[in-house]
């Protein structure tokens, strides 16, 4: 049962990567990376049950923490850059 779920999650991760490669705008790519990150957390939790190793849950929590901070940091960077670019354009 867990195998089916983890395969579904893996397929979605591949689809998210395809979107990250295709994505016309930067934000599409960040969205895809965000989806990829949350799916990593899900996959780790499912794997903890698949192999009966509950310590994987700690890794899942660590990934959840890193993912949020990472996305916010990347967004801060891009927002700053796009603001600067707009400022240059309007001058």
């Amino acid at each position: 049962m867990y195998v089916v779920v983890s395969v579904a999650i893996l397929v979605t991760m591949v689809l998210a990567l395809v979107r990250a490669l295709l994505g016309p705008s930067v934000y599409d790519r960040v969205l895809a990376v965000n989806v990829f990150g949350t799916k990593t957390v899900l996959l780790l939790s499912v794997i903890a049950f698949l192999y009966g190793r509950p310590d994987f849950l700690d890794l899942a929590l660590a990934y959840a923490l890193i993912n949020v901070v990472g996305i916010l940091a990347v967004l801060e960077f891009f927002q700053d850059r796009s603001r600067k670019k707009q400022g240059v354009d309007s001058d």
């Binding site: 689809l15 499912v46 509950p54």
Partner: protein, 112 residues
Amino acid sequence: MIDIGLDILSWVLLTLGGACVLIGGIGGLRLPDFYTRIHAASLTDTMATLLIFVGMMLQSGWSLATMKLFAIMLFLLLTGPTATYALANAALLSGLKPGDKGAQGKYGENVE
């Protein structure tokens, strides 16, 4: 008897969660523009997370693992919308208009 019932219920939840994840992934590829793709992402972020984690919590019964699963689920559900809001707001502020290509281009006017 109750055990079998819980097993079946958790399997149903897990299967539905897997289906939600897949549909969200497909939607992320198929939908026409950035703002509609967010909806597909939020489908996998909330519904799939809820279903899969509740399914696993039913499997593990009353144990430390259940507490951890619940904590991770709560954390994902609380931080997910904040990250999504930051993303959508950054896109809006950078001047990406909803419906730049694909469905309807007219509803951008009544904004602001």
